[in-house]
């Protein structure tokens, strides 16, 4: 397959060649790598600035590694993937994880709270055909990660900022404050204060543009915990607004269920009989 070497262009004039970009998939829905293809206005210029060297969802062509930047989507859930992520790390100069699956284990980490053998037998008639691990874990649990981009799915503008920063060799400007900050900036009326709607905005990392409150619903935490989340205090508010203990547990146990802050908070609201897994972490 051709790699069109020496296709140097403006944005990377300081570099002798275009950096090689690879996109890898582990257990996931494809939504975060689709976000790369959803950069409709930027896709062709991006393909000029970097060499898309490995991206099976977009092209059959494979340029051999090593790669300058690897974007990794998905979580580790199978014995084969435990091996594959080590290979990906070995061929990647910079490894960036994209999305809730890769950064926290994703929705499939709900298995971490259950018996995976039972899960397997619920879905599959022949559980013995299916190779799976009993836990879904983020990429950083297995290999060093250079940057984690949050979101379920990731935000296109944050992805472009991250790629631009990589090309320019600078730190990406990705906020780690809460959704509340974005919500205020957007001029939204607070859904909790004004309407009593339970909202995870105060403990959730910004990046989506406070989408849910803009659509008159409470944030459901798809970007995971912000850098200093007071989940306990928020859980008290959720109870005041009428959420039962199992509801509070479930609200912290979705797309970032295995992220540290949300995991600890959800465990505080487990029914007392169901807390067997607590000692494990």
């Amino acid at each position: 397959m051709t790699s069109n070497p020496q296709g140097n262009n403006l944005q990377t004039s300081s570099r002798p060649r275009r950096p090689k970009l690879a996109v890898w998939k582990f257990a996931s829905c494809d939504g975060c790598q689709l976000t790369v293809l959803n950069c409709e206005d930027e896709l062709i210029p991006l393909a000029g600035a970097v060499e898309i060297a490995y991206f099976p969802e977009a092209t059959r062509a494979v340029v051999e590694g090593p790669y300058d930047v690897s974007l990794v989507e998905g979580s580790i859930t199978t014995p084969d993937d435990l091996e594959r992520i080590q290979q990906v790390r070995r061929v990647s100069r910079r490894l960036i994880t994209i999305g809730a699956c890769a950064t926290s284990g994703g929705i499939q980490a709900l298995r971490n709270f259950a018996d995976v053998a039972e899960f397997r037998s619920v879905v599959y008639a022949h559980p013995e055909y299916v190779a799976t691990l009993d836990r879904s874990t983020p990429i950083a649990a297995h290999v060093p990660v250079d940057f984690e981009l949050r979101g379920c799915p990731i935000d296109k503008h944050q992805l472009l900022e991250l790629l631009a920063a990589e090309l320019q060799g600078r730190t990406p400007r990705i906020a780690t404050h809460s959704v509340c900050v974005e919500c205020k900036r957007r001029g939204n009326v607070c859904v909790t204060v004004a309407h009593g709607t339970p909202c995870l905005g105060p403990v959730t990392q910004a990046g989506c543009g406070a989408l849910c409150p803009t659509f008159s619903r409470g944030c459901y935490g798809c970007f995971g915990p912000q850098d200093t989340p007071n989940t306990r205090s928020l859980a008290d508010r959720l109870a005041v607004h009428g959420m039962s203990e199992p509801e509070v547990m479930r609200v912290f146990r979705t797309f970032n269920a295995a992220s540290e802050a949300f995991l600890r908070e959800s465990e505080r609201h487990e029914p007392t009989t169901g807390s067997l897994e607590q000692g494990e972490r």
Binding site: L37, E40, T59, T77, F119, P153, L211
Partner: protein
Amino acid sequence: MTHKHKDGGHVLHVGTLARVEGEGAMHIEYRDGEVADVQLRIYEPPRFYEAFLRGRSYTEPPDITARICGICPVAYQMSSCWAIEDACGVAVTPEIQALRRLLYCGEWIESHALHVYLLHAPDFLGYDGAVEMAADHPAVVERGLRLKKAGNRLMEVVGGRSVHPVNVRIGGFYRFPSREELRGIRPDLERALEDSLETVRLVAGFEFPDFEQPYEYLALRPETGYPIESGSVVTTSGASFDVRDFATRIEEVHVAHSNALHSRLDGGVRGPYSVGPLARYTLNADRLCPIAREAATAAGLGATCRNPFRSIIVRAVELVEACHEALRIIDGWTGDGDASVPVPARAGEGYGASEAPRGVLFHRYVLDGSGIIQDAQIVPPTSQNQPSVEADLRSMVGAWADLDEHALQHRCEHAIRNYDPCISCATHFLDLTVERT
């Protein structure tokens, strides 16, 4: 990659199938010049949605099941909403149904534009991918991206974002878009309609192998209009049944080589069945809007289409339909009425189906009296199409036995992409192995 089998057989194996959504491989075995076995190996890791939905609240499946697939989240949101509303005995208003259809049009435009231009067209024009194709056909790729963007914009306006929209809830929406918000995207959709018509002309000029398959087609058919967000089930053998009966008519079978369950209709007595654009078109061509029907006729499509390679033409025709339909809904939109209807929990079983871009997607839920999910069943289109894809490969590979390994692999991949397989959905797909003497 190929290797000789110990008994003199031959294997063709493609380890990672490209330009499909998710992870799969293909394995073909030849013995004495005959195709001995064809397997689509779906090694996409299982994520156990149906298991962890147990114990969740009936309000959660639209957000949770959307995560099965980043390319068709709306399909999961819509099928789950219908199923839970069915279990709770609630019907939504015509306005809510219209907005569901509009959001779904956005997903069809985004998903079909992605498949036609970025995933499938490179097979016909001889490129590894759309970026490589853009060097020689910049206007074509630009049109594809513009169409895809129009679909995504429509989803953003109605749903908040295109991957995992946030505005969908059981009973309807969190808020209705205003007339002005919807009118704002009208110019993009008018351009998209023109681009769709141009897409039909482009793909109608591609070369198609002579290849027809006799499969039974299964699709939804609503009371009026082309099937998108709802309908009851019809098939080309004349079967017609309510969505509530899918669980008794469609059986899921677990085979060793796939983490996606295969589906059989009526015990498989009539052979494999197939869902998706060819099935929808064959069973509902009379329901296309006049512009889409004219475009289909001009592109050489008859009353039925049985050549899976020509599915790209049907997808293009469906792009016309979706753009036209979106404009029609926007023009009639008032934004009046409540954005959702109340859905009180009750014990029961509910069924839902909608036409995902790749074909019918069924959901079934059993709820207890407080709305906690006791059982969930999800039958995605790629699982239903898996036996047809394998049957296609089995018939084609025999005829292509004289091709060199590289060409054969490419042909097989092309044949698989005819179905726009979504492996993330199906595992809830592809590595190629060919064995031959």
